[in-house]
């Protein structure tokens, strides 16, 4: 079973963060804004200097070139960025055509210009852009923050199905307790400099 393992990780105000995310499972992180949830995800993606050891499936973060690590452990930021004019330019031909129906886009979305996308649409497309890379672990920073209630549930269901099917170890930053209830196998809350287990941990 694949595993995303954090040992004594410290970044920003957080220190001694240790947790394990088994493949196919979702570990939720919550905490007040500014408590360092996103920075922790960034440390796991190795985008920020940090202390401690992080490994996936036994392979340490520092054992592989950083870009290879990041294509295995893919992070989806809360505010996704789009740098080409057209949506389609951000996807390969094949992944563009295989856009899952669950995301609720018409097939011609690939021809749309990025500027006409709403923030919710960007967020949904960003999830597909990340999954299309065939990652082994996912780092999701409030993946449904810009979606309404109904869309949130549909995206959650689709994400969970993909996570289970592909056996992805998933760290999911969330603030809505109901959502955490629905998706989490384990839940940690940031309290000061520490991570507290709320339920479902070792």
């Amino acid at each position: 079973m694949t595993n995303l393992l954090l040992e004594n990780v410290s970044v920003g105000a957080l220190s001694d963060v240790s947790l394990a995310v088994p493949g196919g499972q979702v570990v939720c992180l919550s905490g007040p804004s500014g408590s360092g949830k996103s920075r922790l995800l960034r440390a796991v993606a190795d985008l920020e200097p940090h202390g401690g050891a992080i490994s996936h499936n036994g392979a340490g973060q520092l054992d592989v070139p950083a870009h290879q690590w990041r294509s295995r452990v893919v992070m989806v930021p809360a505010d996704s960025q789009w740098w080409f004019d057209d949506v389609g330019a951000h996807f390969s031909q094949k992944t563009g055509e295989n856009l899952p129906e669950a995301l609720g886009f018409p097939p011609e979305v690939m021809a749309w210009s990025v500027s006409r996308l709403s923030s919710g649409e960007r967020q949904r497309l960003a999830l597909w852009r990340a999954l299309a890379l065939q990652p082994q672990a996912l780092l999701l920073d409030e993946p449904t923050a810009n979606l309404d209630g109904e869309a949130t549930k549909a995206i959650e269901a689709w994400l969970l199905e993909e996570i289970r099917r592909r056996q992805l170890a998933t760290l999911w930053v969330a603030h809505d307790p109901a959502q955490i209830q629905r998706v989490a196998n384990a839940h940690y809350r940031i309290h000061g400099a520490r991570l507290e287990s709320v339920y479902g941990s070792d």
């Binding site: 070139p65 294509s71 930021p77 505010d79 740098w83």
Partner: protein, 265 residues
């Protein structure tokens, strides 16, 4: 043909025009008066001094004096490159990268032009070496500083885009690709535009000077072509090196974007 020497008091007439512009600028509150006057005074003093230096240098033509002048020109150009960046790398990196890029490109190209193309005796004859190096450095300096300024500023503004690209497993080179292209473009544009407009819109300064000094236009034109070609090559290679070294320094060994290495003076 003899060159008509200019008396110093005649230059004062030209300076009156600058004064008139300064007064007009002041009255209509354009906010350029101060920098205009300072720059004008600087140009007079600096050129008068370099005139004296060149007179002395032409008289001695010792290699080490020429090398010393070349080094001074390089260091001043390096300082200027640093000053022209609104955001620059911390510490000595900004100076080192700019100066290193200018050194490698302008000195190589100048020495090449002197030894292979022009071939004066000795190859470092100051009458050829100093003006050529001066033109090379002046233009490379513009190219390198424009390119580095654009690079640093774009990286600063597009932080989120670069990091999102990194999150998707791109290498730092891929994540920086568009910005690097833009930076090269803005460094190269002045040289490319100058080449495109040369002879039709503008008569380049060096050729004009040579013709004024009595050279046949056919010779002046050949020199001008040589100079424009080597200037563009030198600027291009200089900007290329500066952008790739500067870009490398903006990422660390784990390919993380390190904006903490940039400062706004």
């Amino acid at each position: 043909m003899e060159v008509i020497d200019l008396a110093w008091w005649k230059l004062a007439l030209a300076a009156l025009l600058i004064l008139a512009l300064a007064v007009t600028g002041h009255l209509s509150r354009l906010g350029i008066t101060r920098s205009l006057l300072i720059a004008a005074v600087r140009t007079v003093i600096q050129l008068a001094l370099i005139g004296l230096v060149l007179e002395a240098l032409f008289a001695s033509s010792a290699f080490y004096w020429i090398a010393l002048l070349a080094l001074t020109m390089l260091l001043v150009a390096g300082r200027e490159v640093v000053a022209r960046q609104s955001r620059r790398l911390r510490g000595w990196w900004a100076f080192g990268i700019g100066t290193g890029a200018m050194f490698v490109s302008s000195f190589t190209v100048t020495v090449l032009a002197l030894t292979v193309v022009i071939g004066p005796e000795p190859w470092y004859a100051p009458q050829y070496a100093i003006p050529l190096l001066g033109m090379m450095l002046g233009n490379t300096m513009t190219g390198v500083s424009l390119a580095l300024d654009r690079l640093n500023d774009s990286v600063w503004r597009q932080r989120a885009v670069i990091e999102n690209r990194l999150m998707l497993g791109q290498t730092w080179q891929q994540a920086l690709e568009d910005i690097r292209r833009e930076a090269m473009r803005s460094g190269m544009m002045p040289s490319i535009n100058a080449m495109a407009a040369a002879g039709i819109v503008s008569l380049p300064g060096m050729m004009t000077g040579q013709i004024l000094a009595g050279s046949p236009p056919a010779v002046a034109v050949k020199y001008q072509i040589l100079v424009m070609l080597i200037i563009t090559a030198g600027t291009g290679f200089g900007a290329l090196m500066a952008v790739s070294w500067g870009g490398r320094r903006l990422f660390d060994e784990r390919e993380r974007l390190r904006l903490d290495r940039l400062i706004k003076p």
